[in-house]
Symmetry: C4
Subunit: 262 residues, 4 copies
Amino acid sequence: MRKELREIINDNTTKKGKIFDYTIQILIMISLSAYAIETLPDLSNQIYDTLFWIEIVCLIVFVIEYILRLYTAKHPLKYIFSFYGIIDFLAIIPFFFMSTTGFMSLRAFRIFRVFRAFKLIRYNKALNRFHLVAKLIREEVILFLIVTGIFLFLASAGIYYFENKAQPEEFKSIFHSAWWAVVTLTTVGYGDIYPITAGGKFFTFFILMMGVGIVTIPAGLVASALTKAREMEEEAFLKDTEEKSKMDEKNVLKKGKQDNKS
Amino acid sequence: MRKELREIINDNTTKKGKIFDYTIQILIMISLSAYAIETLPDLSNQIYDTLFWIEIVCLIVFVIEYILRLYTAKHPLKYIFSFYGIIDFLAIIPFFFMSTTGFMSLRAFRIFRVFRAFKLIRYNKALNRFHLVAKLIREEVILFLIVTGIFLFLASAGIYYFENKAQPEEFKSIFHSAWWAVVTLTTVGYGDIYPITAGGKFFTFFILMMGVGIVTIPAGLVASALTKAREMEEEAFLKDTEEKSKMDEKNVLKKGKQDNKS
Amino acid sequence: MRKELREIINDNTTKKGKIFDYTIQILIMISLSAYAIETLPDLSNQIYDTLFWIEIVCLIVFVIEYILRLYTAKHPLKYIFSFYGIIDFLAIIPFFFMSTTGFMSLRAFRIFRVFRAFKLIRYNKALNRFHLVAKLIREEVILFLIVTGIFLFLASAGIYYFENKAQPEEFKSIFHSAWWAVVTLTTVGYGDIYPITAGGKFFTFFILMMGVGIVTIPAGLVASALTKAREMEEEAFLKDTEEKSKMDEKNVLKKGKQDNKS
Amino acid sequence: MRKELREIINDNTTKKGKIFDYTIQILIMISLSAYAIETLPDLSNQIYDTLFWIEIVCLIVFVIEYILRLYTAKHPLKYIFSFYGIIDFLAIIPFFFMSTTGFMSLRAFRIFRVFRAFKLIRYNKALNRFHLVAKLIREEVILFLIVTGIFLFLASAGIYYFENKAQPEEFKSIFHSAWWAVVTLTTVGYGDIYPITAGGKFFTFFILMMGVGIVTIPAGLVASALTKAREMEEEAFLKDTEEKSKMDEKNVLKKGKQDNKS
């Protein structure tokens, strides 16, 4: 019976497994929607009560899901400390404070309900290729982060030097200038902070000419790595097929020889 | 005669077919321009009358076009429920309310005139490659949408947590914060809503460092898929040419043998 | 002597040709700088006079350059109506009104001085590859422009429908809404016009999710085409080298045979 | 002993070398953090004193590092005038003014402390590939800068023509308009300066349709060059491996022959 349960929970190719998966996914989305609706101001008591009961139901289902995953896991301890195990646990933390302290503590622990969003990742097959992409560009991403870090520091220090006197309130320190650097180099440009001196504007021009290139590097990295990942997967697939067809050929030849002999 | 008409309407390689196609395309653009001009405030009655008669003429031509397409279609029902059939029908809906309720209802139904924009897609040959691109990256696009969805939710919930107390009016709920998340992660940054607390600014920094990468993924996907699609089309073309040339070679050889024999 | 002049003007590999090229390029940049400085308000008369004489010198040099290019051209008429011939002519138009109407007309015709910027393009060798890139993606760029056009129209019509009642001044007509669509879909987001209704914000979300993809398509197109162009150039180069080395081999063999015979 | 020191300083594969490298890197980051914290207004004297002593310690360590690098360098003069030599020297300039003029001059020379950020680059292995990328796209980057320059000039001159009369304060001259052009074409869009006339808005539309393409070219360039660089490195690696395995084969064959003989 444990084996049967394991198949339902972990194997999403069987019919029962699919029903289980989709149920969990829909409950996650309902739970997240309820969480978002709760933040709306001026909700009527009726709606609030409904949201409360939806949360109770979702919570109980996720607790049952956690127990079942623990029960059917080949190595329960390994599951508990795995990425998904921790996520599953964080998502049900409010449960442990429910019976003792009642309704209010459920509100206090509602931040843990956000972690349910991560539970959705489990059900996505295409993530494999992105794993490969991440592996391929890990080195460059680290480089990119270091370069971006140095670049942000230099941009912040530079604009502080140019604008601090003209706008002492906006460019109060390098940390305040760093907010400008982040908003500008990502090209968001809210308009709450921008240079007004000629020197600051000229500096911004140079920083942007170089920064737009740096900010767009990840796009280039992902693009080239994705092409590579796709090719690697296809090559692996082709190799598999070729080997199979060779095996088939050999078998046919063998059979032919045997036929000749006999 | 029906066959002749079908050639004119569906075959854009003949001279008559080209004239028909360009006429419809120009009328669509005239109709859309008239629609846009109508929304301008303080139009003189004369201009309004002109726009009205332009609309009447376009409408009648599109009705005739619809009837002709229906008449010449090999499977009329199939055409009616095809993508272009529905678009063609939506574009002429105002016609059915014209005679009975007169001029005013034409205004009420003018939203349907917007669908004429979709009629333009029919005349574009290069869309085929984008179909192939769409097919190649369908899986990644779905993944991208799920990841973007989760990411937007986490960004909204996070900024709500940081900014709700400092700016209760702007970050009223997670839904209001979602507007901030959309405007920020697409790097539009109108400046109507932005974090002012140190925590919110720091959170925005992290979200942007990760979000700029996520928003630029589609560019990478389209770039890599387009390269792939182009290669696939060229390979298919080369294969065709090779096969043809082989056939030609064979024919030449055959002929050569026959010549030798005779 | 005409032949010698032609070499100086058109051949940038000789020493004299290089000096001529760099002189013209530096003069173009001086002329454009003078043009920009002239627009500064509150200039002293002295600076103004200096800028005037700089312009006179540049103008005379460009007139001489035009006459020389005309004189040394193998087909003068062909040069006059070529892209660079027209640019060269537009850049010296103020000259023809100088003697008769004096200083003021020079100001009136100063817009033609802007065309001198295009003269700089002539001196760039790397433009060849971009010609090839433009050729490779011409079809897609046209498709992209049509799709962008349809998309901008639909976005404008949609936001007009949602926001016109709430902000009658900002979203006055579809044309006014088109300004919003352009500023939003390019992710510039000045903040002078943005949706305030829930419907308009939701519509913006959808438009952005699709629009960011459409706006980033050119980057993908250029990236894939540039990879292709580079490969094509390298293949062409390799082919050339191979053919040469084959020729060399043949020559060696031939020579070897001849040596054997003798 | 000099040789031993050289190994510690320049060889980051040994244990001692790693400790030396990480110590320097951590000190650089501490020094930069102290520099940024110093710019915060309203710091208590206690914090200020701590920051001062942190700076003194870092400065002394960097001076010792510089002396050691000079002492262990095979060609001391070459090191002094190398990129890293200059950076190392700029980072310790405040030291020379410390004893004579005391604390205040340390503040005056604190701008040199920013150069310590560049010292971090030395420790990044992945920069090699970006060197190759930079080499591959040098030609296109120069072209891109020239095209961007011409484009920025034309955009500035054009918007000046359209908006100068309507907004004489914002679009005061072509240089003021250039600020608009930079902020718009990089899609930052602070919202401090934007067109309000119909002509200016139309011009902005065209400039953006073309400019978004130009601004995204670097992304395409980096993407295609990175793919190329990766392939080149892999080919070089494969070639090496092949040659090695061939050598191994030969050796085996040789040995086999010798075995046969004996």
